[in-house]
Symmetry: C2
Subunit: 234 residues, 2 copies
DNA sequence: ACAATAATCTAACAATCATTAGATTGTTAT
DNA sequence: ATAACAATCTAATGATTGTTAGATTATTGT
């Protein structure tokens, strides 16, 4: 059904083998990206790096794995050229190579959500109680925030806010929120966001804020979903 | 740095473990997609299925692997819910679950091309000789084809053309092309395409056409890149 | 009923991968 | 220098894969 080359020349067999090999090579290269994305821990590392550059130590702590294991996983990500490193004193700082990597993380996640019922169920379970903002309210939300009619609140660690944040967002990290409630205007609605739909910080923030009598909403998206790239600290 | 829950309640530890587990579960689900995409052969199967539904036998032949191995790989793809099956007599027909799967195939491939120099080099080597059409000529090409000023030629097997093809394209499978040259208008430029940038059929067609005195160009994109979904035969 | 075909299932092997522990490198501070 | 630290490298392990062969299940045609 498919001869890729003309079957008459004496070079045909060699050429066929050759083109087979080249073709296989192409798929092998793409599979390198797939291989980088086939481990849950590596995906978690990618998500964290989408928030901004981090040291191995920080990444290990935030993914709850040993530094050795984190280092090994990061090695794999670097082998696929998805992350880059820079030595800063005793630390090695990892960062995402590209905005394309963040886009891919959003893309594979959305395919998984489209295809895997289990994922949708798990997300619903996490999501159900606090009322959410629809993800298509983007422009509307920015307008409201610009006019000061809502407070967009970034509850991630301060370093991540510094690396990248949503337009007009204010930073109060989740573990400082209880002490810093006074900084928030009493009447206005607070829209909290964090690292993205798999992160629990904004949910917890909304719970806390409502307990304390605020009007609070949860925005399930983060900087990666909005296509905002973190900047280098150096 | 990050306590996800309030550290006072006696339920905290259990809740933390619980949310850890739920969170890990999310990344595990996404990793199922990565796992499906971490084998070159599986990627090749996805690309073929993007052209239209096919039996296991056909898929095995076209990827040059045994039916047993093809069956095993397809099993993996089905476990990730990326493909669906339907029994037709003695055959089992596989098809892509969704257009989202084809989009993902294009997305992972484009990230690989962005990040991996090796892939770019291999593609250049394949591509260099026949002059190519820039991929952004889409609308222009369709207009020219509509007016009949160029002939857009689909050189894939007839069944794939039947499942989906580019607008205004004519079908002459690569292995019938030599005998059917008379069907092509002599003066007009022929724009040949096949399964996509990793497929050699259009290149070979362009080589043949030029040998025979035609003006021929190679379009590296196929139906998956144009976002055209194959239709069911049943 | 029987043989032929398409596809899967099972079991088995080798190859690869995740994870851990121990030793090693490079950097900073004393 | 020396100690402390961040990170990597090098095995070594156990678990998961890719791949193949052999037996098994449907389906079709005779």
């Amino acid at each position: 059904m498919e001869k890729l080359t003309c079957p008459s020349s004496p070079l045909t067999l060699a050429a066929m083998n050759d083109s087979r090999r080249t073709k296989d090579l192409l798929y092998e290269q793409v599979a390198r990206i797939g291989k980088a994305a086939c481990s849950p821990k590596r995906l978690e590392l990618i998500e964290l790096l989408c928030q901004g550059e981090k040291s191995v130590e920080t990444l290990a702590r935030e993914t709850a794995i040993s530094m050795k294991l984190a280092s090994a996983h990061l090695r794999e990500l670097r082998a696929a050229h998805l992350v880059e490193t820079e030595k800063q004193g005793k630390n090695v700082i990892y960062r995402i190579a590209n905005r394309a990597v963040a886009d891919f993380w959003v893309a594979i996640r959305s395919l998984a959500e489209d295809r895997l019922v289990e994922l949708r169920l798990a997300l619903e379970q996490m999501t159900s109680h606090p009322k959410e903002l629809a993800p298509q309210d983007r422009d509307g939300l920015v307008k409201l925030a610009k006019k000061g009619e809502v407070v967009v609140l970034d509850v991630r660690p301060a370093t991540e806010y510094a690396a990248a944040h949503l337009p007009f967002a204010r930073s109060i990290p989740i573990d400082e929120l209880r002490q810093r409630l006074a900084e928030l205007p009493a009447g206005k609605t607070v829209v909290a966001y964090c690292r993205g739909p798999y992160c629990l910080m904004a949910r917890d923030a909304v719970d806390l804020l409502r307990q304390e009598g605020f009007k609070a909403l949860h925005l399930p998206e983060g900087v990666a979903e909005w296509g905002i790239s973190p900047v280098r600290s150096t």
